[in-house]
């Protein structure tokens, strides 16, 4: 009798075990049902916040080299490429609105903006300088930059460490990429990540102020 029960139990165990294995595979693949796209997967895989913002040498629109960790200020950073047909400009327009929503006493004394291009092949200092001028002359504290003396491979590794996914579609040459905004503390740590496609300007500004106040206290 016990043997019969055990055999019946064993048969039930087959679908149960299959289900457990299948759920585990999906769980692992989506990092605990949280990362369903390559964008969220790359971001989650880079680590939870707060975490250090990886260091890299950069060159700004005026040809001056710098490291973000030497700024010792809050930084709002995003990644673009100038040949982008649509989304990068949309995000930068949103960033411009956010810039003008923030008090002028905060920028650039406590907070600065950084837009970093990742198209090492096509973008150069002249192009980013011209691109910056489209946003007006009153954007003091908003730096447009390029990676400086960094190979493609190193830069790709850097982006992965930041949590940015980028993929150049072979047929069109369009670079599809993550559009996250990273709020970096004066201690060079990523403390907030915004998704401009989902977060409204008001929410982003409110959270930036909240982080600034926490730091003052």
């Amino acid at each position: 009798m016990y043997l019969q029960k055990w055999i019946k139990m064993k048969r039930v165990l087959i679908p149960v075990l299959t289900l457990i294995i299948c759920i585990t595979i999906i769980w692992k693949w989506t990092l605990g049902f949280s990362a369903f796209t390559v964008f969220t997967y790359t971001l989650d895989k880079a680590g939870t916040i707060p975490r250090a913002f990886p260091d890299i040498s950069m060159i700004n629109q005026n040809g001056k080299t710098f490291h973000l960790k030497d700024k010792h200020k809050f930084m709002l950073a995003n990644f673009v490429y100038l040949n982008c047909p649509y989304v990068c400009h949309k995000v930068n327009n949103q960033l411009e609105q956010i810039y003008h929503l923030i008090d002028s006493s905060t920028i650039p004394s406590k907070l600065e903006f950084l837009t970093l291009s990742f198209d090492l092949k096509n973008d150069n200092i002249q192009k980013i300088k011209k691109y910056r001028s489209y946003f007006g002359t009153d954007i003091n504290g908003w730096t447009f930059a390029l990676p400086y003396k960094v190979s493609n491979q190193e830069f790709n590794q850097y982006l992965t460490r930041v949590g940015i996914w980028k993929y150049a579609v072979p047929s069109t040459g369009i670079i599809n990429h993550s559009i996250y905004l990273f709020l970096i503390s004066p201690e060079n740590k990523i403390i907030k990540i915004f998704d401009p496609a989902r977060d409204s300007n008001d929410v982003i500004v409110r959270q930036i102020y909240s982080c600034l106040q926490e730091n003052t206290i």
Binding site: I14, I26, F36
Partner: protein, 198 residues
């Protein structure tokens, strides 16, 4: 079901088509999202299904084993519909081949299971699959955010639209199987009614 020379023809044609879709035509299929999701992926399932159907004697009679296989098939479908998996399949060729193989195996196992599985289980499986296709379609159609980095939002929306249609068609098939099954069940006076419907 296929027998004799048809069986041989199927077994000769299917591997050729599999290799053709998986190797020389792979780049063409990977170029746009509708081709990848609506042509390549179902083509592999279909090839598996045809192969499975040609093995007439191959039949999984154990209900629990059948349910386990249906769970595997459902998970395979879910896995390859995730934007993360779609992107990796397009970027990474070995991963793409894994998708082809997995879809072929899923299709191959489907027919021997559905031949003998309980009517209720069959309806649940078909209903869940149509709901899943519909949900994936609605998500892709309604999202204005790029979900797969290998494609465009336009292609994503287009794929979503056709997935909705496919989901509805699958739902219609489910309803047909359901009503056919309960009609047979009503007409059968002996106990094995629902199974006869399958």
């Amino acid at each position: 079901m296929l027998t004799g020379k048809y069986h041989i023809i199927v077994l000769l044609i299917v591997p050729v088509l599999f290799v053709l879709i998986s190797f020389p035509m792979n780049d063409w299929f990977s170029e746009t999202m509708p081709r990848h999701q609506l042509l390549q992926l179902p083509a592999m399932i279909l090839l598996g299904l045809i192969t499975g159907a040609s093995f007439r004697k191959l039949s999984i009679r154990d209900t629990f084993g059948g349910i386990a296989i249906l769970i595997f098939i459902s998970t395979s479908l879910i896995f390859w519909m995730l934007p993360h998996s779609i992107d990796y399949a397009v970027i990474n060729k070995p991963f793409n081949r894994l998708m082809h193989f997995n879809m072929f195996i899923a299709g191959f196992l489907l027919m021997p299971v559905l031949r003998n599985i309980l009517f209720e289980v069959k309806i649940i499986f078909l209903g869940m699959t149509s709901a899943m296709i519909l949900a994936a379609g609605i998500t892709l159609k309604s999202f204005d955010i790029l979900l797969c980095s290998s494609f465009t939002i336009l292609q994503q929306n287009e794929t979503g639209f056709y997935l909705i249609i496919a989901g509805l068609a699958f739902f219609a098939i489910t309803l047909f199987v359901f009503f056919k099954g309960i009609t047979v069940q009503k007409n059968t006076t002996s106990g094995s009614g629902p199974k006869a419907a399958s």
